[in-house]
């Protein structure tokens, strides 16, 4: 049955894809070759669409791929399959963290994890900059918004709205 197979395949991807949504993409390319549920061209479209719709790319791609394969129910099943393994693992982890939060060794580990996590966030920004800020207009806009974000502390939606309008006006 197609739904069961969709669920199983996306559950497997959800279990092995460590490092976030973009990591799921090579696995989806495999699915395309293995089952022909969607073509590689369609997968490319799915990724482009996912970037301009709300939500994380990994979840969007799963919903879309599931929809292509098994309609609305397929979309829901694929998404649940992808999210389930992480959910179960994290329930365990969260419980563990709350329990051992005051342990001295755990505190030392957290002392080092915090700056490392910040380095990862900053690096993610750098990677996206390299990939997507390929012309001077977007580079300049990004720099202006960055400076602005330190002066007037607004919520992310403010910068997203400004940048979308700027993108249309200046034809980026």
């Amino acid at each position: 049955m197609i739904y069961w197979q969709l669920f199983y395949e996306f559950l497997t991807i959800g279990l092995v894809a460590i490092g976030g949504g973009l990591v799921t993409i090579p696995f989806l390319a495999d699915l395309s070759e293995k089952f022909g549920w969607f073509s590689l061209d369609e997968l490319t479209d799915i990724i482009a669409i996912s970037e301009i719709t709300p939500g994380t790319i990994g979840i969007n791609v799963a919903t879309f791929a599931g929809f292509k394969t098994g309609g609305i129910i397929g979309g829901i099943i694929a998404t649940l399959g992808l999210a389930l393994p992480a959910f179960i693992i994290l329930l365990f982890f969260s419980n563990f963290i709350l329990r051992y939060k005051s342990n001295p060794t755990f505190q030392s580990i957290l002392f080092g994890i915090r700056p490392a996590a910040i380095a990862l966030i900053l690096y993610a920004g750098l990677v996206i900059a390299k990939l997507s800020l390929t012309e001077w207009k977007t580079q300049l806009l990004s720099l202006i918004l960055l400076i602005l974000s330190f002066i007037i502390k607004k919520s992310p939606i403010f910068y997203i709205a400004i940048s979308a309008i700027a993108g249309i006006i200046f034809e980026m």
């Binding site: 279990l15 992808l82 963290i97 910068y159």
Partner: protein, 183 residues
């Protein structure tokens, strides 16, 4: 302690207004839950983020699950995870049939290219503010600088970066500092 309905509302809003991928969602979660609602501290948020890197699945969703658990245990985790995923499922299913029109629409693509510029600014702002507010002594700053250099030069994986952070944290605590500080 926030109610399940409040948790649902906040995460649904975050899921709805995250354009540009998980990095922006991370910025949203920090802005809404740490800065505005104060349900969470930056330090909690950061180790959730580190753990989310090393566990399977989508990073931002993983952070949402852990935040939900911290607020209202298992029920909180279920509510936050579903609420953050729900908007994207609904929108994707809705536009699935409109696909060709969207990718060929020039205005939408221009808007999207603009949004990409803000994504970089939003993520960088979050990282710099967290560094200023949460990593105040030279040992922490050195760990940050080293991790960032390793990422740029050797493109080490997120899991390796977090393991490096753990090891550096344990070693750093053995270095005596002038005054005893609170972590």
């Amino acid at each position: 302690m926030p109610s399940l309905a409040e948790i649902f509302a906040v995460f649904f809003k975050i899921g709805m207004f995250t354009f540009g991928g998980g990095g922006v969602m991370i910025a949203w979660i920090q802005d809404e839950l740490v800065r505005k609602k104060k349900w969470l501290k930056d330090e909690d948020f950061l180790y959730f983020y580190a753990i989310a890197q090393c566990t399977p699945g989508i990073i931002a969703i993983n952070v949402a699950t852990m935040v939900g658990y911290t607020l209202r245990k298992k029920a909180g985790a279920i509510v936050s995870t579903i609420a953050v995923i729900l908007p994207s499922i609904m929108v994707i299913l809705l536009i699935a049939s409109l696909l060709p029109d969207i990718t060929t629409n020039v205005t939408i693509m221009h808007a999207f290219n603009g949004i990409r510029a803000s994504v970089v600014a939003i993520i960088t702002n979050v990282a710099v503010n967290m560094l200023i507010n949460n990593v105040k002594d030279w040992r922490g700053r050195s760990i940050f600088a080293l991790a960032f250099l390793l990422l740029i030069i050797f493109a080490i994986s997120p899991v390796t970066t977090v393991i490096f952070g753990c090891a550096a944290g344990i070693s750093a605590q053995k270095i005596p500092v002038g005054k005893k500080e609170k972590i």
